[in-house]
Subunit: 119 residues, 2 copies
């Protein structure tokens, strides 16, 4: 449940309100985007808001989640496709998140690894 | 470093000595294999040793790893292809592991999520 709710929220923000996406990260967060390692909410924010595409749509195919070894944490694994305007072919991607609970009862993204799947 | 060494060891065992693969799991370990959730080293062992193929070869394309929120833990994300005998086309896959250190200085797999990537 946590996994699906988070994933829906994450890609909704990504596709519609990308400037708000950094609210899901914290100073300790790590993102590896197509092999590029980025640490901390500020640099992650810069990266996500400076991607080569302004508009996109994520379509999720599968969501798998498990409780992690960190108390209350959840690992989430997503596969799906990324649709860019004017591109005929969708880009398949896989992404994993390690979510950590906040004192406020939400989750933040501690680990985020994104890869496009090349056929 | 941990990520690559583990991944090399894991797929070497998987492809050459699959009966030894359960040594990398513990009673708390979780595997989600193509959406099927399996908990504990015994059931994971049964699953991995009863897959529909006896022989296979994993070819790794990318390995991304990050320290996790659990002290000494590492999250590892792998993409690659799975080659089965007599199959002309390789199967693309993505897999994530959450590795937890053991008192002996090794790692065990706490979380394992495997998905084939369908184009």
């Amino acid at each position: 449940m946590v996994g699906r709710a988070f994933v829906d929220h994450y890609y909704h923000l990504f596709d519609n309100e990308r400037a708000s996406l950094p609210s899901l990260y914290q100073p300790t967060s790590m993102l590896t985007f197509e092999g590029q390692k980025i640490v901390g909410v500020d640099d992650i924010s810069s990266k996500l808001n400076q991607l080569s595409f302004d508009q996109c749509r994520h379509v999720v195919s599968t969501i798998d989640s498990q409780p992690s070894a960190f108390t209350g944490g959840v690992v989430v694994f997503v596969s799906g496709s990324l649709q860019l305007p004017g591109e005929e072919h969708h880009l398949r991607f896989s992404q994993m998140f390690h979510l950590i609970p906040t004192p406020q009862g939400n989750f933040f993204v501690q680990n985020d690894i994104f890869r496009l799947n090349y056929g």
